[in-house]
Symmetry: C2
């Protein structure tokens, strides 16, 4: 039996092919929990100011103390690196089976440095690792590569791999797992590509046990019961269920951040998407099973998830499920993050409509009236052909390369393109986008949910006004909470704001059952604050300043168009005040963690 | 009468339109001399890790103690900024009349920060400054803009302005002065563009006097006499005279760094270029007058200089003077640095020939057989249209955007494209390229000359073997010497290796005559070392590491093609050893100035 902490990180140097085991001290486990906390620790250990593609730049896979236990939500793994999109803290997470497998292999984390001379993959097996040739795999799409690697590595191997987009250093290349799960955002696939690392395969034969299995079992049974009562829509529709809320409130990003809802919602509604479902799957031990597979013509793909649905759908004015599903498959196979992919495609259409770029420059027949052109454009991005090479840089860099004033029209924070929640309508979400460690992100704070439902995430008696600029405290608390969730690591669908079922109390219960360490919600909140601050400290070291916690000019200057929230806008001055509230709460004067705050959190050693 | 140091820097904030005068202390004048030394000082004073385009990022114009005196070579001005090409110390220099005018206006330096709300220019007049609208000038080419500004500002105004390339943030946009002089390299024009600063105009009514006018006059007469004897080729042909040496030794970069000489040299030889000359001009007080103007058809342009001649000529296989002169004019008017422009054009042809990119992607009929296509491609770069938007990023970033292995084929150091001297043939030059503060640069050390002539720059008894890897000491001494020349600031044609006439002794003489401070050549060498180290310290602060002191893989793996030096190559291992020798001499272990060295040089205060 393995304990919930193995205290071991495997360090693989692709340049020298050397593998060593590094101890993760008890102090680090206590203070930084796992997952995101470990990721921030290992990034802080790396040299400052490296290019994301520098051989010395590490890419970290980390599980957490909950991962691999006999518990739903314990399916996840996190990946940490310097983001090729933002140049700051990069992180992405996915479910499936990779996290539990890493734990079963006796590891809490894995750090890959160096650059392989030739395409390679790493096989990790019960605490050992081997660098293998991937020359025969280079060029294969994600699904095919995973299939071949699983055959080569034998039964039970869990695989994270990249597709052509990662090989070609597309800055928003994802890392694919289990034919449809992705470590999606921030460009981890490009970091692997720069290392000539096609894949990481993991096999573990151990079983991970909680410190108090009985207490864990009791909590699990309670959680599973509650989930069955509250998570029906997610079970039935998967994530597209969210679209009903966003469209109705006018917060559904449409026509590249022009409008806030679509009047052809019925055509791509969750019911219409569900018609294409032909299979449902679960991540490791999960009774929800939000994973739905769709089939359109010859195409079969996991999803579309809500984020894919919005990015390749409403944002591009794609009015039929077929186009969305097909584009989803292209992205998944080639290894493109669908959120950024949808953003760059829609941005192209938007600039064409504005007359800033020409049809000749783009080289593909595409427009808001002809969104199916994306099926031709997306492969050009993955292979960096023609205009695709510009879009492969993400909207921030693409807008700079295009020039002509495009920078002010692109929508992103720190270079990361936003997911499917309109920041001009949901002001708490806007703050979350602005301060989130990885750029415009919904998952580091989940503020869209209290903003859409009006319910406070942790206090049912408090009503949340989505248009208020007084949400800094709520966003900060959520951020600390989800930093902890991302460090344990748990699936957020078990920690939905308001309905949980895993909120502060349950999280403390789970932490203690898993580790044997008693901890109050307050102590855990401090850990969440610590982890959030350490990730910030890393980005500050890499050049982040408070001016980076802002949107591009268009988001402040242009109100939302069509829809129930028409005319709503984000006031730069009020928003800046909200940011200042946030810095004050965090102890980050001018956006930079103060020495006092670092000392209070026990992080001085990282300075 | 003004003294050779006014001890005044004018600081103009374009955001607030506030202007203030800052004192330059006596200590800074003593230790950092002027020009490059002042530039490094002001950059170190700015916040770390700013984007080159950040409003807070300063752009500095600085003269030196020799500038504006009644002395030839005293015509120059330096410009300092964080380079959009390299992300490190950016510097460029030009002759003409701007430097002397700044001194006559009672200023040693001018620092511009902030970002104008609307296109603006700054008029400096006798120590005061005014921010004026440039809305009517935005879009004008460099020549036209200068003409209009001179009309507006009245008699005697000296102007530095940008063209469309700078406005469009082309990363190698230059700053133009006096219809044909350029602060050319490193992208200062883009930094001005990002500030919406179309131009700086300067008017001064003072006269600058040396501390010891008699001593200065004596030195001047001696220098002028000597120049007349040794600088005949430069007087007659201008800089293209250099081509005879490079072509004969096989060190003339040809066909995008494939070959080392051209067998159609006669077609574009200095004599053939000289046939197009119709006018000759001098910078401030200069008896050499290397400035030649060429006329081809309706086109009249200053130059082509040797660097333009090589970059738009042999590097692109352009076999006629007409194409070179026309392309020269396009670059000068639009505000493109011709060295980088030639490199990106030739790189395009090279990738087309290799089949890595397609005719459709480039959008222009261009090849080594059809180099005149550059006349269509260059404006597309300046306006960031089509493939031009990719090339506008410079070869390093363009190669990354293109992908497909192009990175390894691009030739640059730190993102700056090399001028017209083959590093595989001239090993001292190679070291100079590698360590030069601004990236692949010939002017920070002038090593091409001892490498081409075999004569030691300061010791006529020592022979220099261009293929030796034991040149670190010579390069370091030259670098310190020219750091001083760039701080005084003097024209390098008065400080040519071996023939001078201004070498260490004369430099010390000039320094003392100008400032009244007695200094031995040894003390001046220490100042040169100090300035070189401070510029390095700035770049290290911005992320420079010794791995950045290297060429791209192709330079090590591919020997020189056709020509007298065919088959010569740069051995990575031996070259790395030469780099280590250099770091040892400099006191920069691992490429980073040590605390001991900084203390020795009195630079600890900058840490």
């Amino acid at each position: 039996m393995l304990e919930c902490y193995s205290r071991k990180a495997l360090v693989v140097d692709l340049s020298s092919k050397r593998v060593k085991t590094e101890e993760i001290s008890e102090g680090i486990c206590r203070n930084l929990i796992g997952g995101k906390g470990f990721g921030a620790h290992f990034l802080m250990e790396s040299e400052a100011n490296l290019s994301p593609y520098d051989p010395e730049a590490p890419i970290v896979l980390a599980a957490g103390p909950a991962v691999g236990l006999d518990f739903p939500a314990a399916s996840r793994i996190g990946c940490f690196f310097k983001s090729p999109l933002t140049g700051f803290f990069g992180e992405s997470y996915c479910g499936g089976y990779l996290g539990p497998e890493l734990k079963k292999a006796g590891l809490d984390a894995m750090v890959v440095v160096g650059k392989a001379e030739k395409p390679s993959y790493v096989l990790v097996e019960d605490g050992e690792a081997e660098v293998r040739s991937a020359e025969h795999l280079w060029g294969l799409d994600c699904f095919k590569a995973e299939e071949v690697i699983k055959e080569e590595c034998g039964k039970g191997a869990q695989v994270a791999c990249i597709g052509p987009a990662g090989e070609n250093l597309v800055r928003f290349a994802c890392i694919s797992h289990d034919t449809g799960r992705q470590l999606g955002r921030c460009g981890g696939g490009a970091v692997m590509g720069a290392k000539r690392l096609k894949a990481i395969a993991v096999k573990g034969s151990g079983e991970v046990e909680a410190n108090d299995p009985d207490r864990l079992r009791k909590l699990r049974d309670e959680i599973v019961e509650r989930v069955k009562k509250t998570h029906g829509a997610l079970m039935k529709y998967g994530t597209p269920a969210i679209s009903v809320l966003t469209n109705a409130s006018g917060a559904l990003p449409t026509k590249y951040w022009t409008d806030g809802s679509i009047d052809w919602f019925e055509d791509i509604s969750p019911d219409r998407v569900a018609e294409k479902y032909f299979k449902k799957r679960s991540c490791y031990l999960c009774p929800i099973g939000c994973r739905h597979y769709s089939r359109v013509g010859g195409v079969e793909v996991e999803g579309p998830e809500y984020e894919t649905w919005f990015a390749l759908g409403s944002l591009c004015l794609a009015k039929d499920v077929e186009t969305i599903v097909k584009a989803n498959e292209v992205c998944d196979r080639l290894g493109l993050d669908t959120i950024t992919a949808g953003n760059v495609v829609a941005f192209t259409m938007y600039l064409l409509e504005k007359g800033l770029i020409s049809r000749e420059e783009v080289g593909v027949e595409i427009s808001f009236d002809k969104p199916e052109g994306m099926l031709e454009l997306l492969p050009r991005i993955a292979y960096r052909k023609g205009f695709g090479m510009v879009l492969a840089e993400g909207v921030k860099r693409a807008s700079e390369i295009i020039g002509r004033g495009a920078e002010a029209l692109a929508v992103h924070v720190k270079g990361l393109e936003p997911p499917g929640y309109e920041p001009r309508v949901l002001k708490g979400m806007a703050l979350g986008y602005a301060v989130s460690s990885r750029g415009a992100c919904h998952l580091r704070h989940m503020s869209y949910r209290p903003n859409l439902t009006g319910q406070h995430p942790f206090n049912p008696d408090v009503k949340v006004d989505r248009s208020s600029y007084m949400q800094a405290e709520m966003v900060a608390e959520q951020e600390s909470f989800y930093a902890l969730v991302d460090s344990m690591i748990l699936c957020k669908f078990y920690s939905l704001p308001t309905i949980g079922p895993i909120l502060w109390r349950e999280l403390a219960d789970l932490y203690t059952a898993a580790t044997g360490v008693e901890a109050t919600p307050k102590e855990l909140a401090k850990a969440g604050e610590r982890i959030t601050t350490l990730a910030r400290l890393y980005s500050v070291r890499e050049g982040l300043r408070k001016k980076d916690d802002h949107f591009t000019p268009r988001v402040y200057s242009e109100p939302v168009g069509k829809g129930p929230a028409q005319g709503e806008s984000l006031d730069r001055e009020k928003f800046t005040k909200m940011l200042e509230d946030y810095y004050r709460i965090r102890g980050w004067p001018d956006g930079v963690p103060s020495r006092e705050k670092l000392a209070e959190l026990g992080l001085e050693g990282y300075l």
